[in-house]
């Protein structure tokens, strides 16, 4: 006798096929909800804020009057912030990655550093703010300066850059290393002349994505006491400043309806900056796509 009757199989087949196609569309719908959320978000912000966008908006300082409020101080402030964050975080991040991939021996200290970096990635940004407040603002007496905020942000995005750079370095084929060592090159010569040039696209892409996270972060800036109403531009890294997300936060939390329009305009500027940075990352990624 047979355990499986062909008839039963056929009878059940229909139900199984229906379940299959129903669930296919459920899964697709769920995926599209995410897409829909993004579309609504972008649509809302553009329709709300586009009317307020103008040259004056970019060149005016903040103001009590919504129609005069501009984003100059915040825009320039964010650039200043990047001036500190980019070199600091990239030097620290790439340096750590080179150490971990090329020099570190397999021992407890190395395991500890690796574990530490992945844990650091999970610390909420507001806690980094508390670190910055205690160490940079107070202990090192940097005050609420570009430098204090820049150092805080650099530590915040450090894990992202380390991990991206490690991956980039790891993807350089071992044969290139062998070829270089085989010529009598030293380790450092091999790293500088062979490994880093081959890994640079991955490192840059990862770094730009990390920097764009730093440009959008608000919480650490609030905690270290970065002000909002500022009528001047910083002249150096020891000056205080404000940044795009701070300005947007301030406008969003004001009760007057008009300021929400201003906030939306500010968000458009912020998103434009992010879009610009991400496009550069995509261009780099495409341009240097695998050659070996």
């Amino acid at each position: 006798m047979r355990y499986i009757e062909q008839q039963t199989v056929v009878k059940r087949m229909n139900g199984r096929l229906i379940a299959n196609s129903i669930f296919k569309y459920i899964f697709l719908a769920a995926t599209l909800i995410a897409l829909l959320a993004l579309v609504i978000l972008l649509y809302r912000i553009v329709t709300q804020g586009a009317g307020h966008l103008s040259i004056e908006f970019l060149t005016n300082f903040a103001s009590r009057f919504p129609e005069k409020a501009g984003i100059k101080a915040a825009l320039v402030g964010s650039l200043w912030l990047m001036l500190v964050v980019a070199p600091t975080s990239i030097i620290l991040g790439v340096g750590s990655a080179i150490y971990l991939e090329e020099y570190a021996k397999q021992n407890r200290i190395t395991t500890f550093i690796r574990m530490n970096i992945s844990n650091l990635a999970g610390v909420p940004s507001v806690v980094f703010g508390l670190l910055g407040l205690t160490i940079f603002v107070r202990a090192l007496a940097l005050g609420n300066s570009v430098l204090a905020a820049g150092f805080t942000m650099s530590l915040l995005i450090l894990p992202v850059i380390v991990v991206a750079s490690q991956e980039a370095i790891r993807s350089v084929p071992g044969e290139l290393r062998d070829a270089s060592y085989g010529m009598g090159a030293t380790k450092w010569q091999t790293i500088v002349k062979i490994i880093l040039p081959a890994a640079i696209p991955g490192i840059l892409t990862g770094s730009i994505l990390a920097l764009s996270r730093a440009i959008g972060e608000t919480a650490p800036l609030i905690v270290i006491g970065i002000p909002v109403i500022i009528q001047f531009l910083p002249a150096g890294v020891m000056d205080t400043f404000t940044a795009l997300p701070m300005q947007i936060y301030d406008w969003s939390s004001r009760p007057q309806q008009e300021f929400q329009t201003v906030a939306a305009a500010g968000i458009i500027v912020l998103m434009a900056v992010l879009l610009f940075m991400n496009s550069i990352a995509v261009i780099i990624r495409n341009k240097f796509d695998k050659r070996y």
């Binding site: 070829a179 270089s180 085989g182 090159a185």
Partner: protein, 256 residues
């Protein structure tokens, strides 16, 4: 040059090597002569690649490697503490299994060695690049595309670029680790002809899994099995009149 006037470039004495607890090379004794092609043959896993990588200490890039015994290069033990690996590798060039040019221009590939060793003069570099490419018999094929990426040429050409790259620092010895295993027959032939040409000026040690290749191009052949040297003699003797049964079995294709 007569046989008796030739000097040894490498004298290996009682070399043992372990990967962790795996005893990969056992009591190797070999004397390798200058201006000869020495072939190392044997089945995969016999230690032939490990041995050639020990000659320029590339094997030490593998963690957990331990060695005992001596390898004298031109009379000096390469395992001595004051013998820098960089110095050794400057005298001993290497060509690898897979063509591995750097993702740079052909010119920069060849100039890499001289540059890292401090030669900056553009005129001298130009001269070295041309001489090396001519030495590797590829000058005519690439002279008009020196600034192109080395990955834009064929695999066989890439391997000859790698040979030219090794020639650029005018080494004393060239180690070749199965240099034709990734190449098509025609490219293989070109590399083999090149090896014949190069032995006038260099001592060449070549690992190959291709017995016909060893027979065609080498003066001496060493047969490795399970980390030991079974037989080492003139290539003609090894292939026509081997003294060890295992050599005969391997050469006649009974295993491997």
């Amino acid at each position: 040059m007569t046989e008796s006037a030739k000097k040894a470039v490498y004298e290996t004495k009682q070399l043992n090597l372990w990967y962790g607890s795996n005893h990969a090379l056992k009591n190797i004794d070999l004397e390798i002569m200058e201006n000869e092609v020495t072939a190392i043959i044997g089945p995969s896993g016999c230690g032939k690649s490990t041995y050639i990588k020990t000659l320029n200490r590339m094997v030490e890039l593998v963690p957990s490697v331990k060695t005992s015994g001596e390898i004298l290069y031109r009379g000096r033990n390469i395992f001595n503490h004051d013998y820098g690996v960089e110095e050794l590798r400057t005298r001993v060039g290497m060509v690898f299994q897979k063509p591995n040019p750097f993702p740079k221009s052909i010119y920069d590939n060849i100039a890499y060695g001289p540059r890292i060793h401090g030669i900056k003069n553009k005129k001298i570099l130009d001269e070295i690049v041309e001489k090396s490419l001519r030495g590797a018999a590829i000058w005519d094929e690439v002279k008009d595309r020196l600034n192109e990426n080395a990955y834009s040429i064929s695999g066989g050409q890439q391997q000859r670029i790698c040979i030219a790259r090794a020639l650029a620092i005018e080494p004393d010895v060239i180690l070749m680790d199965e240099p034709t295993s990734a190449l098509d027959p025609i490219s293989t032939l070109k590399v083999e002809e090149l090896v014949q040409e190069l032995k006038k000026d260099y001592s060449i040690i070549i690992v190959t899994h291709n017995m016909q290749q060893a027979a065609r191009i080498s003066d001496k052949t060493a047969f490795f099995l399970n980390g030991e040297v079974v037989e080492y003699d003139h290539t003609d003797t090894i292939f026509s009149n081997p003294s060890d049964k295992r050599t005969e079995d391997y050469i006649s294709g009974r295993f491997g």
